[in-house]
């Protein structure tokens, strides 16, 4: 130990113990080019998709980190999803995958006949 201390008086090692690994305190999830990307740029389609995507609120602005900062806030911090008094949601305003699937005639008949119409 003393030998090491003596050694360190004359030389500042570049390797230092920096403590247990912890993620950075501030994380910016805004998309930037991947470090191994040969062009070092992201195509416009990344921003365009985020502009277009409506189903994920944080994707399209409203974030302190700006465009595309998905994942930077928990769902809880975005506030309640309950409608305010007097406010109503229309299913048809939701993305297509959340909307009601229209019944087909075959389905209606199948249900009403207890499945018999399928034979």
């Amino acid at each position: 130990m003393r030998a090491t201390l003596r050694l360190l008086q004359h030389r500042q090692p570049m390797i230092k113990f920096v403590g247990k690994h912890t993620p950075p305190a501030k994380l910016d999830h805004t998309p930037v080019a991947h470090p191994a990307s040969p062009t070092h740029t992201l195509p416009n389609s990344f921003a365009q998709y985020r502009q277009k995507a409506q189903q994920h609120g944080p994707l399209n602005g409203g974030s302190k980190l700006g465009l595309g900062a998905i994942g930077s806030h928990s769902g809880h911090s975005l506030g309640s999803v309950e409608p305010k008094k007097g406010e109503y949601f229309d299913r048809d305003e939701l993305p297509r995958r959340f909307r009601r699937t229209p019944w087909t005639t075959a389905e209606i008949e199948a249900v009403e006949s207890g499945g018999a119409s399928m034979f």
Binding site: M14, H34, S37, T39, F46, H56, G71, A110
Partner: protein
């Protein structure tokens, strides 16, 4: 309408508890209407398309992190190219062919007298298959242990959250994922004009499964894969000629000085090289394949003939049949999926990792990305240092490097120092009678920080781990030079090369 008043959950439970005849009609109805089909698809936290190194590592990491995860793989065995037809089987053949070569050519001066030595290629191939099977089954076991659902089939995007799977055993299924990873890997780049049949016009896949030793083999491409497989068949008795378009073997990442050294060593072992040479034409219509070559900058044409031609000009991302067009994902001019710093494609919950996207096509890079991409989901933070990814060529002697090479630093105008140490001055290499090669450190001239480590010599592939760690920690050559290395070991050459970079080596 009366029918609309019936909750769907009731309909589902009715269908589930009814007789088998009713269930059959339910399936029929499912095919008629997406309502029933969609309601049966289970949603996972993560769906991974591809069970290669990137995919299976990500799947295990996700399972360990408590995610509900499914991994879709069409090969029928896990591990992808690396475990099945790449790194692992080639290492088996490299190791065993090296043993054979050593016994045939390097026993007399070691005091070992041997009788007739014969190659049993069938058994050598079986040994390779046993290694591969052990490892792929091992991954399957790890899937079970970590609650990863393994779906054997071919997956394609139906929409941004749904993968339709054609099951290998017949039938179809769908799996939905909150997050989806594309880890479909890469395939060998074909050579225009030569049709791959994996018998006499082969890629690396055929090169690990030849049924007999070809008399003459031409390797198109002097990169790592070409040199490794060329080495195997050269040791087993083939006359191997490597044709390389560039002026050096080993690919552009290999340090030029190291590349020249390994070329000399491989030439001494019997391999022939044609550098700065391009293949203009190939004719595989007859039993003997004709390959036309000429100087890369134009020159006199030469005709090479071979029993087997190995096409090893590189690999390209594999996304065929994935249905990228269904979700409008971008690929660049080389077919790589475009991603951001968190492996996200333009559709943020779909990420791409491994060979299918940017960066070197290396299994260990894919592995790192698999872990990091899962951590971006679970912890919001992941990490891969692309400046500290080692490369290894498993010829004998091995070549390994990490960080930047001399030609790159020259091009950037960085002032650097070199410290090198030959294995001929290393005690352990001497006792092993295996003294070819050197360790070369490249450090920043001002700060002594290590910029690159390049090794050609015995055990280089293992030794480079120390260089990678040093680079990751931002170490100086002096940090390595002042660290005790056991005696007598090959790693002392590593330490002494570091010492040479900031001062002087003791034993040279």
């Amino acid at each position: 309408m009366l029918s609309r008043a019936i909750p769907r959950s009731v309909l589902r439970s009715t269908a589930a508890s009814s007789s088998s005849s009713f269930r059959a009609s339910n399936i029929y109805l499912g095919r008629q209407s997406r309502r029933w089909y969609a309601s049966e698809a289970e949603e996972k936290d993560l769906v991974i398309v591809g069970g290669g190194v990137a995919g299976y590592v990500a799947a295990i990491k996700a399972g360990q992190s408590g995610l509900k995860v499914a991994c879709i793989e069409k090969r029928g065995t896990l591990g992808g190219t690396c475990l099945n037809v790449g790194c692992i089987p080639s290492k088996s053949l490299l190791n065993n062919s090296h043993l054979l070569h050593t016994i045939q050519h390097d026993t007399k001066n070691r005091g070992i007298e041997v009788g007739d030595i014969k190659l049993n290629l069938d058994v050598m191939m079986k040994a390779k298959d046993t290694s591969v099977q052990g490892l792929t089954k091992g991954v399957e076991f790890l899937f079970k242990k970590n609650n990863v659902e393994y779906i054997k089939g071919t997956g394609a995007f139906k929409d941004e959250h749904t993968i339709a799977v054609n099951l290998n055993d017949g039938g179809e299924t769908e799996v939905k994922g909150k997050n989806i990873f594309i880890a479909t890997g890469s395939e060998s780049t074909p050579f225009p004009g030569l049709t791959i049949n994996e018998e006499n016009v082969i890629t690396s896949t055929g090169a690990i499964a030849l049924k007999k030793v070809p008399k003459k083999m031409v390797v198109i491409g002097g990169g790592i894969i070409g040199l490794e497989m060329g080495s195997v068949w050269s040791r087993l008795g083939s006359e191997v000629t490597v044709v390389e378009f560039l002026g050096q073997i080993g690919g552009p990442g290999m340090d030029q000085e190291i590349s020249k050294q390994i070329q000399k060593m491989l030439a001494k072992q019997g391999m022939k090289f044609k550098l700065n040479t391009k293949v203009t034409k190939g004719d595989a219509s007859a039993e003997s394949i004709k390959i036309n070559v000429e100087a890369a900058k134009g020159g006199k044409e030469e005709l090479l003939d071979a029993d087997v031609v190995l096409v090893a000009i590189g690999r390209r991302p594999y996304t065929a049949g994935l249905g990228l067009e269904n979700i409008g994902l971008d690929v660049d001019e080389r077919g790589r999926l475009v991603i951001d710093q968190e492996y996200r494609t333009k559709i943020p919950h779909i990420r791409a990792i491994g060979d299918v996207t940017f960066g070197p096509m290396l299994a260990h890079k894919a592995e790192e990305e698999g872990v990091a991409a899962v951590e971006f989901i679970t912890k919001n933070y992941g990490h891969v240092n692309y400046n500290a990814i080692p490369s290894v060529m498993y010829t004998h002697p091995e070549v390994a490097w990490v960080g930047q090479n001399e030609q790159e630093l020259k091009a950037q105008g960085v002032k650097y120092k070199i410290g090198s140490f030959p294995f001929s001055a290393n005690s352990r290499a001497k006792t092993n009678l295996d003294t070819e090669g050197m360790v070369k450190f490249i450090t920043d001239a001002e700060t002594d920080r290590i910029l690159g480590v390049h090794i050609v010599g015995p055990n280089a592939g293992e030794m480079i781990a120390e260089g990678t760690l040093a680079l990751e920690y931002g170490a100086s050559a002096e940090d390595v030079g002042r660290t005790s290395h056991a005696h007598p070991t090959l790693s002392e050459a590593f330490k002494e090369a570091a010492m040479a970079a900031y001062g002087k080596a003791i034993h040279y």
